[in-house]
């Protein structure tokens, strides 16, 4: 997908005025956070499990190479293949190769954010293989030539009317505004596609080293039809998703659905382990796991190491007031919200993605809800440190901080400067007690008044009081 992160400010401005989007974002706010809160209430051990999950992820990362090799050897033992792909390009080519090897014409897809990350669909289409999104949200987006704006609920930015129109145009059925009818239409449309696909591509929420399995956590059943019906099953996933045992996977599963949608457990949690066995009546002959790196191994042991704990639940963006105001597309790439603000600069560069870690008040709500306790504001601040060191922050910011810093480090000069500014603002405010328009602070006064200082500075008044004693 085209990168639009540099235009974040403009994207945000447009998003704030987009009535349809704002209505859709209202649904998000009312839904996921409330539901998560209820689910957390029902599981008294939830916060202790978060601690365990954080510690387990840290252990996994310390031994990531060993667990990945173990995973690969089990997959191979079971008759599957593991492909290690350092770059997006490697991954795309690998997947296309597999498709060409089996002469694939159509490929059904379960939802996969990693496939968005590597821009898989466009590449397959360019090379004569037709990808068919089957997750309802992704299916709608594919019809509209649109992209996900959320990592769990990809079409969350759309309203009923948008879906209604898209289906009417593509399904050639009478236009309906009944969600049940629309879902039935999608169900019917995709049935034959599932059955006829040559290759099925799913993602993986976790990879289990003990058994060489991949697991998908879903509600619709499309992922399951995708991993069962075609002759070839490709799992596209990334290197940090490996977990040691089925019990370890279970710890994360308990946190995932509750953090994401507030469900106790999603409808379908499906472990795939290799191709069909002797005697199986269905299932693919070929099982491939494509392990994507794309910058993740660079994060190991570095200042963004903790971001590798992420289990892609979306709790952070669901609770973020910035995401809640502007939606996911404003962030301009694949991963939005707080987790996107840390990952995007890593993957596409801080030069393009600089706005993202800056467009945060560091309110800390994301960290509060993260199931694996990633210190997201701290990591965003690390990006700001990097920008500052590389002189990438806007000049006005650097000079402003430098100027202010000059005074802040010299208390006596600071007192003089602040006494002067104080006097100046009181004069501007006059009897009103507030200022409507401040030079250099249009960002503030465009939208709100600036309360005036209420008198001389505290230090001036305090010194006077001490003097009077």
């Amino acid at each position: 997908m085209q990168i639009k992160s540099p235009e974040f400010k403009e994207n945000a401005r447009i998003a704030l005025k987009d009535v349809g989007l704002q209505k859709a974002l209202g649904n998000l706010k009312a839904g996921f956070p409330e539901k998560r809160a209820v689910a957390v209430q029902r599981m008294p051990e939830f916060h202790d499990m978060r601690d365990e999950a954080r510690d387990l992820k840290n252990h996994i990362l310390e031994n990531l190479d060993i667990y990945l090799e173990q995973f690969e050897s089990k997959v191979t033992e079971n008759g599957g293949h593991v492909h290690w792909c350092r770059t997006s390009d490697d991954a795309r080519k690998t997947i296309l190769d597999i498709c060409k090897q089996v002469d694939a014409k159509t490929v059904t897809k379960g939802k996969s954010m990693v496939s968005e990350e590597i821009n898989l669909n466009e590449y397959l289409e360019e090379n004569g293989v037709q990808p068919i999104e089957t997750d309802l949200g992704e299916y709608i987006l594919q019809l509209r030539k649109d992209h996900p704006s959320h990592i769990i609920a990809p079409a969350i930015h759309l309203n009923l009317e948008d879906v209604s129109e898209a289906f009417h145009e593509h399904h050639k059925k009478p236009k309906s505004d009944d969600p049940a009818v629309l879902m039935q239409e999608a169900r019917e449309e995709l049935r034959t596609k599932f059955v006829n696909a040559d290759v099925g591509i799913t993602g993986a929420n976790f990879l289990v080293a003990e058994t060489g399995s991949t697991i998908i956590v879903t509600n619709e059943g499309n992922g399951d039809l995708t991993q069962t019906l075609p002759k070839t099953h490709i799992v596209i996933t990334s290197i940090e998703k490996v977990v040691p045992t089925l019990e370890d996977m279970t710890l994360f599963l308990r946190l995932l659905a509750r953090s994401a949608t507030g469900q106790e457990f999603t409808v379908y949690n499906t472990l795939s382990t290799g191709p069909r066995r002797e005697g199986d009546a269905d299932g693919p002959d070929n099982f491939h796991v494509v392990l994507v790196d794309n910058g993740r191994s660079d994060m190991v042991g570095g200042e963004f190491h903790e971001m590798l704990r992420c289990i892609r639940c979306s709790a952070c963006m669901n609770h973020c007031p910035v995401y809640g105001s502007v939606g996911g597309h404003a962030y301009g790439w694949v991963y939005p919200g707080p987790m996107g603000s840390v990952l995007t600069p890593q993957m596409i560069g801080i030069e393009k993605a600089g706005n993202l870690p800056n467009a945060s008040t560091f309110c800390g709500k994301c960290e509060e809800v993260c199931p694996v306790r990633i210190p997201l504001p701290k990591l965003m601040r690390h990006w700001r440190n990097n920008e500052f060191e590389k002189h990438l922050s806007p000049k006005a910011v650097r000079w402003g901080i430098a100027g202010w810093g000059f005074f802040a480090k010299r208390p006596k000069l600071y007192r003089q400067m602040s006494n002067t500014s104080n006097w100046f603002m009181r004069t501007m405010a006059g009897k009103r007690g507030r200022i409507n328009s401040l030079p250099l602070a249009g960002g503030w006064t465009d939208f709100r008044d600036m309360p005036a200082p209420s008198g001389k500075t505290f230090m001036q008044q305090w010194q006077k009081k001490q003097g009077d004693k």
Partner: protein, 262 residues
């Protein structure tokens, strides 16, 4: 609480916003601390906690300010300030120094001694002898750093419960960020505006006459919005109410005495 032979010596961390915009918050803080049996001094070598530099990625400037602040507050039993974000920033000083650097130990020490005012009164001094009265319906905004970094939630409410005549009506989303975020509000004004509009809307719905909070940055932001929207609700820092110092105009209200101090 043990009976001390000598009063607790507290260094007041004024905060740059209180110093500039609303000294009464500083005086109210002093009054409360003295009521609680502390002696309060105000070290002169303080200017700002350093948040603006820290959150802009300028660790060097932040480090310089940290050292200055650590030194200024050396020797005080406690360091108390009327702001969750500023005291939170003092706690972050430990992140600025490497293991083995003597400054790191000094920063750890400062962290142990530094408290937001309502948390200090309730958690450290177990003090709740509030003598004030404020005959109004109020609502309370939980500033982010105070809430999430320092655990300030119940303490201001407990103390407000002791103010005669005050009725606390909780607003929807009291814990949601008001959109100030330091430089955020001028760097991303459209988004900040949306957040503060949501906040003033919820505060309005709570039906309160006065909006209270523990951080002047948030309060200036919300008061400025309330005034621009023409809403009647006023905004004050919670210590003003707790210290019984509510006879002066609220934040951003017209003050005809201002002229006299020119």
């Amino acid at each position: 609480m043990s009976v001390n032979s000598s009063p607790i010596r507290v260094g007041l961390f004024v905060t740059c916003l209180v110093d500039m915009f609303r000294p009464s918050v500083g005086f109210a803080t002093v009054k409360l601390l003295e009521q609680a049996g502390c002696t309060v001094e105000v070290p002169e070598a303080q200017t700002c906690c350093g948040q603006p530099a820290f959150n802009s990625g300028d660790r060097d400037t932040t480090r310089d300010i940290a050292k200055q602040t650590i030194e200024a507050f050396d020797g005080y039993e406690y360091v108390v300030g009327p702001s969750g974000s500023c005291i939170g920033m003092l706690h972050y000083f430990t992140d600025l120094f490497d293991e083995g650097d003597p400054w790191k130990a000094r920063a750890e020490d400062l962290k142990k001694r530094s408290f937001e005012i309502t948390s200090f009164l309730v958690d450290v001094l177990d003090f709740d002898q509030i003598l004030a009265s404020f005959d109004q319906k109020v609502t309370y905004h939980d500033s982010c750093s105070g809430l999430r970094q320092l655990g300030v939630k119940g303490q201001p409410r407990k103390l407000l419960g002791k103010v005669e005549g005050t009725e606390l009506a909780e607003m929807t989303e009291a814990e949601t960020c008001c959109g100030f975020g330091g430089t955020f509000c001028v760097k991303y004004p459209d988004i900040s505006n949306r957040m503060v509009s949501n906040k003033t809307g919820f505060a309005d719905e709570a039906g309160a006459q006065t909006l209270l909070g523990g951080d002047l940055g948030c309060l200036l932001n919300m008061a400025g919005k309330l005034k621009r929207e023409g809403k009647k609700m006023e905004a004050r820092h919670v210590v003003e109410v707790l210290a019984g110092m509510t006879d002066t105009p609220a934040i951003g209200e017209a003050d005809y005495d201002l002229g006299k101090q020119l």
